[in-house]
Symmetry: C2
């Protein structure tokens, strides 16, 4: 069994709308002396995908609704930020001082609908999640294939908080060319006992692994994971639990 | 920046009570041609730690209480299994058919209090979580230091489900010699905006990364992570959210 290796890919330029991310990623890999191989997984932070897709808003252009203003005052958020968050959400899941957890149009349950005010090149700008992250990942995979000839997996990652534990962890918000779940149900352990309930969220584990070389301020928006046996056709959409059977919504 | 490498360490024998895990881990590494270096992180699955600590129960010896019998019949679980789960728990968080989510004595919120019936060397045995996982990790770290001279980090991992997404992911239940959280609060992004709420649960990301080489049936109970800059003095206990401020309990 071979090791899994995770390479940081730093040095990408500031990303603006329309940037050819696949070209910038390949250039970044080349500077590191790396070339893509079949089975590699490229993990890309949400922020640069969103910026390349123009998913930013200037808060100066946002007119908060009465509801956004009310929530903003109640929890201590800029009402314009709340307005953008509500626009990305189908409902509010939890509200508390300085906390606004919503269910996004994609079905993610996360803080602020993933609308991020930090590290955007200016305090008045916010960055939204990509509209269709699985499709964004698919386009990146196709673009990387076109440039390099290699069929790789692509994971778009973001850091989400979680119940019960402090600290955010990187999870996948979009994927292409990788499995989402690794399924052990129906397999038997060496003692003959059928394993139950053991599907592993591999695509999220890839995102978490990548974070180990990314950091938050290190300007490492891309990581290459080599040696993981995770090729597949999963999507993050398929990983989202049916709200009707979810015990924590 | 160097890559992070994750090496699977297979081939450990079946673990029984009193096994010298640190010796078996070093032997496993040696067979792979690996020797521990300062800053390495050894990730060990909960199951072998629990077995070495004798944290198993034979269901034949368990007399279910009336409450365990009632819950077992209601959700379709063996009442003896429920009895053991309740004994490890301070309260039931959610109950549904084939689902029993409790808060353990450690403060973990997880399915079945982590009491696992699969893959135990016999259907009638269950494996409980270690009583004090951070301390178990500390003893392993000390034992590895004694044998190899290297000051490494140790993470004890288990796979937990999570709300909102299908699939379990590996998380840390005990740790020594590594940071638990990587703290970016108070730092400023390149545009001068102060980062908010950005603590990353690095110890859980280490556990998730290790799972990429472990699998469930592959009998890879140990992984070595090399090159992550995560030395520290964190514990998993310190990562658990205060129940009083938890929005999902």
């Amino acid at each position: 069994m071979n090791p899994v290796s995770i390479y940081p890919v730093p040095g990408l330029p500031e990303i603006s709308r329309g940037a050819a991310l696949e070209r910038l990623i390949v250039d970044g890999l080349t500077r590191r002396g790396l070339s893509l191989e079949a089975g590699d997984v490229v993990v890309v932070t949400q922020k640069i995908v969103s910026k390349a897709e123009g998913r930013t808003r200037s808060l100066g252009d946002v007119q908060p609704s009465a509801r956004a203003t009310e929530i903003g005052h109640r929890i201590g958020f800029d009402p314009r930020h709340v307005e953008v968050i509500l626009g990305e959400s189908v409902r509010v899941v939890r509200e508390a001082p300085h906390v606004l957890i919503t269910e996004t149009r994609h079905g993610f349950v996360c803080a602020n609908a993933g609308v991020d005010r930090s590290n955007t090149g200016g305090q008045e700008l916010v960055v939204l999640l990509p509209e269709h992250p699985d499709e964004s990942a698919g386009r990146l995979r196709d673009g990387l294939k076109e440039i390099t000839g290699a069929m790789v997996g692509v994971v778009i990652s973001d850091s989400f908080g979680r119940p019960w534990r402090e600290g955010q962890v990187n999870v996948a918000i979009g994927a292409a060319g990788v499995m989402a779940l690794r399924d052990y149900r129906g397999d038997h352990d060496p003692a003959g006992y059928q394993l139950q309930g053991t599907e592993l969220g591999v695509v999220d584990e890839l995102a978490s692994a990548a974070e180990l070389v990314m950091g938050k301020l290190d300007r490492v928006p891309v990581a290459l994971i080599r040696g993981a046996q995770v090729a597949g056709e999963g999507t993050v959409r398929s990983l989202l639990r049916n709200p009707a059977t979810d015990l924590f919504r």
